[in-house]
């Protein structure tokens, strides 16, 4: 065994990190920046929940509140959620799982990080300059008439989109060209399938968002009037263009979560996935059918009734693919050997919360029911169940599961479970009341609200503090473990996922000897492999 230093110690100094083309280091860079974005978005969440504590003014005026939720949405969606898992765990794990030494275009990979930083910087500049107040959807004609600045935030999001596309191209090409010998498509880890499907959406959908944003900026800055009714424009068409991106984008946000859950549930149950093909193909299915459902955000917009029907039924179809996965994950636990550790706790939380979030998605895809729920807190609850309950939970599962892989150290298990319980409990307390608020007719993006809704809002605000505490605890013990965690050894989970074929943490080119793959991942029934 050579005494080659691992990727963390191969070279030293900040400069070596800022100029690295090692996919693992880029993954770590992204992990830090993305976590910072989560923190920032979370601060806005806490602030806006605080304002909603009382029916009238609590501590800010309406304009500030409107900027809060806009920035909360923009930061969470484009600076955290969309890049989160693909750029951090995806960058780190995907090449290793394929048995490759790096991604296909390492320099482009680093460029993606810098482009991300540039985009984030522009958004933050816009924020400091006052932020915008259009909501994360930038609906025209409001976005072309608002007195607030729209351009900086829109431009920043555009640049963030470029970063996303670069990463997507890189992952697609890597998956096609850098699979190790013996790694057939049907031996690829489920993580890779999901990230691959994500990349396809990123590459195909993001440019459309880019164009929508350019048009918003032109309409606001130059009053060009592409969507201005006075100049013959049609505001509904903006919504088509925006959602053509943004519905697929929700799968950009959740497919990587599926990727993490598929790996962790197998590894912690020590079992082969129930129906590998079903999980793998349904990812691809989501990537394509997911493009056909965007109109379900527009059921009461004045879109034609025919389109309503088409989009309603297609939304139902796309939900089937997610349902297949949920059943397969639960089925994977059957007759396994389940270790109830922090990642597994998050897997359970994921299954519950994503299940509820997704099922309410199907409920709102029922056209008539959506008429009552559209733009109420029911929708807010729906998407937080999926995005927080699904993706953040999966992000945390992956963070704990791969912590030893990335840093060669163990995190403190008891603290992990405690934080998981806090996050889960806080989550339910925050967002279950929001379903009821929505049922009761409380519209979203409301600064003030009728007094009858206050009790539920108070519960929700309390819950958000619990989530905050849970996440703060997580940050503290993980940072502690970076330095003081006990060494983990190469494979503390006894996992048969392919990323564990490499040492932990891996050397710069991942493997001492390039592996040859002879079987699929997670085949725990083999005595030795």
């Amino acid at each position: 065994m050579s005494a080659e230093p691992d990727y963390l110690h191969a070279t030293r100094g900040l400069g070596s990190w800022l100029t690295t083309t090692d996919h693992k280091r880029i993954g770590i860079l992204f992990l830090w920046t993305v976590s910072a974005a989560l923190l920032l978005g979370g601060v806005f969440a806490i602030l806006l929940r605080l304002e909603l504590l009382t029916p009238g003014r609590t501590f800010v005026d309406p304009m500030t509140y409107n900027r809060f939720f806009t920035l909360h949405g923009v930061i969470m969606v484009w600076m955290f959620m969309i890049p989160s898992i693909p750029t951090s765990f995806g960058n780190f794990m995907l090449p290793i799982m394929l048995g490759a030494k790096d991604v296909a275009f390492p320099r482009l990979n680093l460029a993606s990080w810098y482009v991300y930083l540039a985009g984030a910087a522009i958004v933050l500049t816009g924020m400091v300059l006052g932020g915008t107040d259009t909501g994360w959807t930038f609906y025209t004609p409001y976005s072309s008439k608002t007195p607030a600045d729209v351009a900086p935030v829109v431009l920043g999001v555009f640049v963030l989109g470029v970063s996303t596309i670069i990463t997507g191209i890189n992952f697609i090409v890597t998956t096609h060209t850098l699979r190790a010998r013996g790694m057939t498509w049907h031996r690829m880890p489920l993580f890779v399938w999901s990230i691959y499907a994500t990349s396809v959406i990123q590459v195909l959908a993001t440019p459309v968002l880019g164009m929508a944003l350019v048009l918003v900026a032109l309409d606001h800055a130059l009053a060009l009037g592409v969507f201005d009714p006075a100049a013959g424009g049609d505001p509904i068409l903006y919504q088509h263009v925006f959602w053509f991106y943004s519905h697929p984008a929700v799968y950009i946000m959740v497919l990587p979560a599926f990727a993490v859950i598929s790996e962790t549930v197998c590894a912690l149950s020590h079992k082969n996935p129930a129906s590998y093909r079903a999980i793998a193909y349904s990812s691809v299915g989501i990537a394509f059918v997911g493009f056909l459902t965007w109109g379900h955000h527009m059921f009461v917009s004045g879109m034609s009734a025919l389109d309503v029907g088409v989009f309603s039924v297609l939304s139902m179809l796309v939900a089937i693919f997610s349902a297949i996965k949920v059943f397969a994950w639960v089925g994977t636990m059957y007759r396994g050997s389940i270790a109830f550790r922090t990642p597994m706790a998050y897997v359970i939380a994921f299954l519950v919360l994503f299940g509820v979030g997704g099922m309410t998605g199907v409920a709102v895809a029922t056209a008539a029911l959506d008429v009552h729920w559209h733009d109420t807190y029911f929708i807010v609850a729906h998407f937080h169940f999926i995005m927080v309950g699904g993706t953040i939970t999966a992000f945390l599962a992956g963070l704990h599961y791969w912590f030893p892989k990335m840093f060669g150290r163990l995190y403190p298990e008891r603290w992990g479970l405690l934080a998981a319980a806090l996050v889960f409990g806080g989550f339910l307390l925050t967002f279950i009341p929001q379903f009821l608020l929505g049922n009761a007719g409380m519209p979203r993006r409301y600064y003030e609200y009728p007094e009858r809704y206050q009790a539920l809002h108070v519960l929700s605000t309390g819950g958000s503090w619990l989530i905050g505490v849970g996440l703060a605890v997580t940050v503290v013990y993980l940072v502690w473990a970076l330095r003081y965690g006990p060494p983990s050894g190469d494979n503390p989970w006894g996992s048969k996922g392919f990323e564990w074929l490499a040492p932990s943490p891996p050397p710069p080119h991942n493997f001492h000897e390039t592996p040859v793959i002879t079987h699929g991942p997670h085949e725990y029934f083999r005595p030795e492999a």
């Binding site: 090449p95 490759a100 030494k101 790096d102 991604v103 296909a104 275009f105 390492p106 596309i165 997507g168 191209i169 890189n170 697609i172 090409v173 096609h176 060209t177 850098l178 590459v203 195909l204 959908a205 993001t206 440019p207 459309v208 880019g210 164009m211 929508a212 048009l215 009053a223 060009l224 009037g225 592409v226 201005d228 006075a230 100049a231 013959g232 424009g233 049609d234 068409l237 088509h240 263009v241 053509f244 080119h509």
Partner: protein, 210 residues
Amino acid sequence: MWEPTLRFQFEDRAKQAHAARLGMWVFLVSEMLLFGALFALYAAYRTTYPAAFAGATRLTDLTLGTANTYVLVTSSLVVALSLAAARRALGRLAGGLLALALAMGALFLVLKGVEYSAHFREGLYPGTYYRYAGMPDRGAQVFFSLYYLMTGLHALHVLIGMIVLAWLAWLALRGRFGPDGDTPLELGAMYWHFVDIIWLFLWPMFYLIH
């Protein structure tokens, strides 16, 4: 002759070249969807204002537009031939052909500029700036918004393509391409062909269909 290096992550050079090509295709498809948003808007607005769009199509300059189609198609051929020359290690020929294509790109932009300035004189501005008295129609306003957005974005791509061609021509003249080492030229050429393809659609959309 310039031998391309095999980067450590690839097994062999064929795979490396395939990776580059695939990456370019995926990028171009992504670009296609950037235009795609405007294509969708065009389709939707045309459905809304069929008569106005048909009428406004007559206001664009069919002669110049058609001339530009021939120019761009021919420049595509020239770029393709230059790749063939480079593969036969005829660096100077390849470079010369690229320079010719570059000139054709410039010609395209000049003709486009002539068209634009003629429109400006008539008051055929986009969107809310539209001032043409001959056809005071909201549909025409929208038509010209899309006309400038799409041809403008396309012209921007022509410009970028020209920068790429200039760089490639320089490399070719210095003999950097050969039977095995033509990847940059191949990718650059693909980009130029893509720009050509977009125009093949813009031309009927804005000049012909009435």
